[in-house]
């Protein structure tokens, strides 16, 4: 029984933090608000630290680690507003490692480990809510393979990545599965979204009768388990990143209120302010508890994985919302300026709050799972 990280896991987190402190300050992030938003040097730095190789098995040239090892790193990515597609690639790597055919693994994993391949998942649709069951993007049999049609929204960095991992339904009433496509293929169009978070990029991606061979279906056949894991991994990663961003906002608020003087005293000495910071700490620490536990659930894949992940996504989403809002409030007027960094954390956390299911959707998931467990008992 040990709910803590090892010395090595903390040490790795520290080295990642140090690198990002140097290389990815908000000032640097601000230079990427236009253009494709992809910083090659940062990508190579992240790769050199071994982060992209973490989820690649050793036999494919990676480090063979898991979500528990990754948890503190994803929290750090949130804390430093690390842009996709690094996190998106990591999520996809785990899915490919677990569910890809040997040929798919051999073709993709070594390249990922070396930092040579960027992948993002295409999950959300405008018609659907948050549930992958509502997916309307469809793969229909065509020749020896499939023809893919549909429209995805909020696909991260679709202009920069090399591959997309697309959630699709196989046949009108068929199962869900994942396909791997190259976004440059004929029949695929991308439209750049205007985003709440200007430090991120995402696209609307339309597929019209995109022809794919059977070898582009992840695992060789539609795998609902792979889809389920993908959305759970996305939700857990978002939980960890929101926790990281929220942690930074609390630090900024404590620092600012310790220095800002009004009525002849640092405003941080006023109880109305202190007590809010104390409540923010409770939210933050409990978010960590929830998000770390979700990472453990992904690593060990217990029967209750979905419920444990939903618990984290719901709790961390609400917590990040209130920490970011309160953190901005405690800065007063300067908190409302573009110049101050805090709005970038607010925007990132808000974006993550609505990716891979919002808190209400995940609470409903927890309720359904709880009732099912009670029935079974």
């Amino acid at each position: 029984m040990n709910f803590d990280f090892s010395e090595e896991q903390f040490a790795f987190r520290d080295s990642v933090r140090q690198y990002l402190d140097d290389r990815w300050s908000v000032a640097q992030l601000r230079t990427h608000l236009t253009g494709d938003g992809f910083d090659r040097e940062l990508w190579e730095g992240v790769s050199a630290l071994g982060i992209l190789a973490m989820m690649v098995p050793e036999e494919h040239g990676g480090l063979g680690l898991g979500y528990v090892d990754l948890a503190l790193i994803l929290e750090e990515c949130g804390r430093h507003l690390v842009p996709g597609p690094a996190v998106d690639t990591i999520i996809a790597t785990d899915i490919i490692s677990r569910h890809g055919t040997p040929e798919q693994q051999a073709a993709l994993l070594p390249a990922i480990a070396e930092g040579g391949l960027k992948i993002a998942a295409a999950v959300a649709e405008i018609e659907g809510g948050f549930r992958p069951e509502d997916t309307t993007t469809i793969a229909r049999p065509s020749g020896n393979g499939w023809a893919l049609s549909g429209r995805k929204i909020l696909v991260p960095y679709a202009e920069s990545v090399d591959q997309l991992l697309v959630v699709a339904r196989f046949g009108d009433d068929g199962p869900l599965g994942l396909v791997l496509v190259d976004p440059d293929w004929a029949g695929i169009t991308r439209r750049h979204h205007q985003l709440l978070d200007p430090a991120s990029r995402a696209h609307e991606v339309t597929f019209s009768e995109v022809e794919l061979g059977g070898d582009h279906v992840l695992g060789g056949q539609p795998l609902e388990t792979a889809v389920a894991r993908l959305v759970d991994a996305g939700a857990a990663s978002a939980s960890l990143q929101m926790t990281g961003a929220a942690g930074k906002v609390l630090d900024l608020a404590v620092e600012y209120t310790g220095n800002r003087v009004q009525f002849g005293k640092p405003i941080g000495s006023f109880q109305a302010i202190k007590h809010r910071c104390a409540d923010m700490l409770v939210l933050l620490e409990t978010s960590r508890t929830a998000a770390y536990h979700a990472a453990w659930a992904l690593a060990h894949d217990p029967a209750a994985r979905r419920k444990l992940v939903s618990m984290a996504k719901a709790y961390c989403g609400d917590a990040a919302r209130s920490i970011c809002n309160e953190g901005l409030q405690l800065h007063g007027g300067i908190g409302f300026t573009w110049e101050l960094d805090i709005h970038f954390y607010l925007r990132r956390a808000k974006t993550l709050e609505y990716s891979y299911g919002d808190a209400s959707a995940h609470r409903e998931c927890v309720m359904a799972a709880t009732l099912a467990e009670m029935e079974a008992a």
């Binding site: 029984m1 040990n2 700490l281």
Partner: protein, 397 residues
Amino acid sequence: MDFSYSPAEEAFRAQVRSWIKANLPEGWGSTVHEPEDEHARYMFRLDWEKKLFQGGWAGLAWPKKYGGRGATLVEQAILAEELARAEAPEGLNIIGRNLTAPTLIHHGTEEQRRRYLPKILSGEEVWCQGFSEPNAGSDLASIRTSAVRDGDHFVVNGQKTWTSFAQYSHWCFMLVRTDPEAPKHKGISFLLVDMSTPGITVRPLRQISGESEFNETFFDDARVPVENLVGGLNEGWKIAMTTLTYERGPEDALARQIRFKRDLMRLIVAAKTIPRGPKATAIDDPVLRQKLARSVIEVELMRLNCLRSFSKQLQGKPLGPESSFQKLYWSHMAQGIYETAMETLGPTAPLAAGDPLAPGDGLFQTGFLQSRAFTIYSGTSEIQRNIISERVLGMPR
């Protein structure tokens, strides 16, 4: 990170489980319950505690030389979990076990430990906590109850209040003022007082739940031997801080969590039958489902928060002001459960225990009333927030 138990720990759990089953009364929880009468109920709880002692389960993780078994904290937690799971009675000597004992282990003399700890374990001596006074609650350091040296004794005068279980207690640990001239934190001492000492009067107070767990306790020239001083003269404040850390710590919270979760599960069962109009039940209401789910999540996170803090303790890191964060979290979380319970009951929420139509015979109403104390005792939420902001976040005073 590893949430599994070792084979030895699993074996220990099995052993605990079978002992509990063999020792709870036949039909416990279905036909046999705790006595209705408050006094009889407390005596029943004390008997159970003595039984636990005879079974060798008391003070599991305490050092052997004080009557414990030197077990690990994990084993201690397993015992607490299994007792809560079996809905075994709570003890009566909670303050003795959870507060007096760790305080004496940290700050007592060897003689004091040997004198007091074994009798806490055996249930022979029940303890109460004499900290709060009518004019010293949150501002605990402003206590006025005085202790004046007279030969081999201190003569104690003053009044304590909200003293839980004082009417059943043989001993009280208390804060007394021994130097009225010194700055307020520096003139306080920590005394162990025999409740049968002439000059002590206990008057029960009625609580909002109708029960009388806490009391007013008066001291009129009560003579306490000087060897009952813990730590140095005028050094009681530091000792009181140790006591409070244990009062707010994860071990206490782990056992509570199981009771909160049990009540929440009962609530969800009830929600499936409580009508909402002719065709639906409470569990069909999407707004209520959101609130119930929130509680399901939060109660589970209470356990996981405890395990995180517990893991730090297992690595030998001392329990510090972070225990305030645990207490602040669970007290508000639990109030949320009972608030949602009342909403689930809806129109029957006003029906209390004894009314045949009260769902669960008023369990939730009692829980709701009792939950109001969570954010007051062991330091109010406002005080916990002061501690967290100043001592954890380092904010200015």
